[in-house]
């Protein structure tokens, strides 16, 4: 007896491993004991992000993105990264513009949500400088991470069927042996490295997330190496109080970095708002390669670290303002909105 393979997408199968091969990797590389993983973003990126890696970032759109690590990746001039465009927005745009990412697997990229399209990364995609290696949907990526977290080769889904998105994905369509209907199989995706920004985390890597998890629960468990940046590194005993709040467990984590405002200029729910002025500045200057270059000189290469960057984007006054906006105590500024 057999079931039919009805269709096979032509997208590049990035990040898939035979489940046994990945189990072996986990066995040999992931530690199981509570060990102090605190380090600097500089060290963490130097050690755990490697040229050519398949890389993913936690959060969603402009929310809870580990931007201090994004800047550090640019500063260390990592190259040939393949990005999981699982809704990759500001992170993807900067990394492509800086020449760190030259391949991307796209659920959503090249855009800044309501703010419009991304001049820099679109330019790169259209010139071929950044290659799109496949298309997928958000659910498709979500469930590729679920498959990897579960250590299974694929997860069935009922989306993408009939579309060109599927044609350009690495998915296959088979006949469901129970219903006889076509069903899409999304293959597991194990990023080489994934980076997350969280409100709090202990030194071992047990991390809590306030508000929505997006796909971080599955993504952190799917990834071979995991870097956490946290607003605050708390004592392990804080985790004991509510262990049901641990969204990322220590045994998947390789590095823990305390980085207050580490998501700037993206948004940290309950803590601080997007820095729309800064995002608008980027969207404006990145309309030319020279402008993007100047931006990186000013905000990345021209500063020694993230704290110096925070000073440069407006320091304490700006950060206080962003906290106030998040608490509805100050009005938001949206310079990119031209009253359309």
């Amino acid at each position: 007896m057999s079931i039919e393979i009805l269709q096979e997408g032509s997208g590049e199968l990035i990040g898939w491993h035979d489940p046994d091969e990945n189990r072996r990797w986990v066995l040999e590389n992931k530690t199981r004991d509570l060990r102090d993983k605190r380090t600097t973003v500089k060290e963490a990126v130097a050690t755990f992000v490697r040229d050519g890696d398949f890389i993913a970032f936690g959060g969603f759109g402009h929310v809870r993105v580990p931007m201090s690590a994004v800047y550090e990746i640019i500063r260390q001039r990592k190259r040939n990264l393949v990005m999981a465009g699982k809704t990759g927005v500001h992170d993807a745009d900067l990394l492509i513009a800086a020449g760190c990412v030259n391949k991307i697997d796209v659920a959503y990229a090249f855009g800044h949500e309501l703010r419009g399209l991304s001049p820099a990364s679109r330019r790169a995609a259209e010139s071929g400088q950044c290659q799109v290696i496949g298309e997928i949907s958000n659910a498709g990526y979500q469930w590729r991470f679920l498959a990897a977290m579960m250590g299974v080769p694929f997860i069935p889904a009922r989306t993408m069927l009939g579309s060109d998105t599927l044609k350009h994905s690495p998915c296959k369509v088979v006949t469901d042996p129970w219903s006889g209907k076509p069903v899409c199989l999304v293959p597991a995706a194990y990023p080489d490295v994934a980076l997350f920004h969280v409100p709090r985390c202990d030194r071992y890597g047990n991390a809590q997330i306030d508000g929505i998890l997006v796909e971080d629960f599955e993504l952190c468990r799917a990834s071979r190496r995991v870097i956490i940046t946290a607003e605050e590194v708390v004592e392990h005993e804080v985790i004991w109080e509510e262990p049901c709040r641990t969204a990322i467990p220590f045994y998947v984590v390789d590095a823990v970095c305390e980085v207050p405002f580490g998501a700037h200029p993206t948004h940290m729910p309950y803590a601080y708002f997007f820095d729309e002025e800064h995002i608008a500045e980027w969207l404006d200057v990145s309309q030319t390669p020279e402008g993007a270059e100047a931006y990186f000189e000013k905000y990345v290469f021209g500063v020694p670290d993230f704290e110096a960057y925070l000073e440069r984007v407006g320091g304490v006054r700006k950060l206080n303002y962003l906290k106030q906006v998040e608490q509805f105590k100050a009005p938001m500024k949206v310079p990119w909105s031209k009253g359309k």
Partner: protein, 258 residues
């Protein structure tokens, strides 16, 4: 009859038309922009018990002001749950979500949507963002509502790339592909009018014209011949109350304009 606003913008009109399509006590998956504005407007007018859901995990919030991102805190402000994408898209796949909202760069006669590329996929003339959650919404929701500005380049016979499935190449095609039954595009809203899909052909069909718009205007802004219903309605313009509410929802005029 409700007091009518004397002037309104096409964006305001599209938001109001979209809101009116949402029945009370049902659920809607929204993104940022006009969809969330329409859903909140519906909640504040005829559909107070509408369940608003965001793909990133926000379930049932009382959205205070328009979120800029679908993961932003207003998407789970005073919410029943701040959950995950896996949870929300599973609920959508399992049938808990009635309406979906989508934008589009281009749409074709069968309601297929392109938001991926203009031109050849491998060497695009214009690279667009891709599916995001659009394919999932368009694949899984019983009633998908599409909002876009219409012109000849955007209303095309056949899209360059089907990012999100409409009725594919016609009747039965969705089911043959394996998509859930009884799903697909429900209405298309543009600055000129409202479209449904003809039975049994599943081709785009004009069902309402906005005030002051003619069928000729519609055809002039489409690169294919649009079917026209026998009894084309005329859209009610936004009421003054609707316009006031739109300002409340989008006080900075990010989407609605200033």
């Amino acid at each position: 009859m409700a007091e009518q606003a004397t002037t309104f913008t096409p964006t305001e009109l599209m938001a109001c038309v979209a809101a009116r399509l949402l029945a009370d006590k049902r659920s809607v998956l929204v993104g940022t922009g006009l969809p969330v504005i329409a859903a909140v407007l519906a909640q504040r007018t005829h559909a107070p018990h509408l369940l608003i859901i965001f793909e990133a995990g926000g379930i049932g919030p009382l959205v205070p002001v328009i979120p800029i991102s679908v993961g932003q805190s207003p998407t789970f402000y005073h919410a029943s749950a701040a959950s995950s994408m896996h949870d929300v898209l599973s609920a959508c796949q399992a049938g808990y979500v009635d309406y979906g909202f989508l934008g589009a760069a281009m749409i074709d006669t069968y309601g297929n949507i392109n938001t991926t590329v203009i031109g050849d996929w491998a060497r695009p003339t214009v690279r667009l963002p891709g599916s995001g959650g659009a394919n999932d919404v368009g694949s899984l929701c019983p009633r998908t509502i599409i909002i876009l500005r219409q012109d000849k380049r955007r209303f095309v016979e056949k899209v360059d790339f089907i990012t999100t499935p409409g009725y594919l190449d016609g009747p039965g095609a969705r089911e043959r592909a394996g998509l859930p039954e009884d799903t697909g595009p429900y209405r298309v809203i543009t600055q000129l009018g409202v479209y449904g899909f003809a039975e049994p052909t599943k081709r785009l069909k004009l069902v309402a014209l906005h005030p002051g718009v003619t069928v000729d205007d519609v055809q002039a802004n489409s690169s294919f011949e649009v079917l026209v219903a026998e009894d084309v309605a005329t859209t009610e313009p936004p009421t003054a109350m609707e316009r006031r509410l739109l300002r409340e929802i989008d006080p900075a005029g990010i989407v609605i304009g200033k």
